[in-house]
Symmetry: C2
Subunit: 110 residues, 2 copies
């Protein structure tokens, strides 16, 4: 599953919000997110797996508990794609500005 697919799910986004603030055990995430969205422990656990597998979350064992915290590396692809796109349209904006500038000059001449 690709990074954008990961972020397209509201349960996963909410989970990322939680674990970006501080580490949370799986059970805590199930309580908060599970009740907010009305979904089962199994469902939340499956989302956690996806977050792990795609580099959005790191896990630490604490006895039987699994503590999740955010892993910024998952966002790399998203950031790169967004930046690339912005470079494209930024250069178009510049080209447009140049064009307008040229227009102004020839207007003055005429």
């Amino acid at each position: 599953m690709n990074a954008f697919d990961v972020l397209s799910d509201p349960v996963r986004r909410r989970t990322l919000e939680l674990i970006s603030q501080k580490e949370h055990a799986s059970g805590e995430i199930v309580k908060v997110v599970g009740s907010e969205f009305g979904i089962s422990q199994s469902a939340v656990s499956q989302h956690l797996r996806i977050l792990r597998d795609t580099g959005f979350a790191k896990v630490r064992k604490d006895g039987a508990k699994r503590c999740y915290e955010i892993d910024p590396s998952g966002f790399d692809d998203v950031d790169a794609w967004l930046d690339q796109l912005r470079r494209y349209w930024a250069s178009r904006m510049e080209a447009l500005a140049t064009e307008i500038e040229r227009g102004k000059r020839s207007a003055k001449i005429t």
Copy 2:
């Protein structure tokens, strides 16, 4: 449809890449993206509608042609969410740095 759902589709991402570089008529997008992904004119057109409806693309009529260009406003929600998340974990990083710093000092004292 929310902004993340919009970006989760590869056809729409490719389309955004195209129209971020320069304006493209619907037919051009159908040719390029349609053939790259092996999908019909209808399919591409449906994606274009989504990009319009969600503020990712602006349209200009040129006779029977419809010229699409990127609309940066669609990205606002995505940017805001990503920034918020980064603020969260950045402040955690700072807290951690402070903690480490304190550790260093008390180590020196002891």
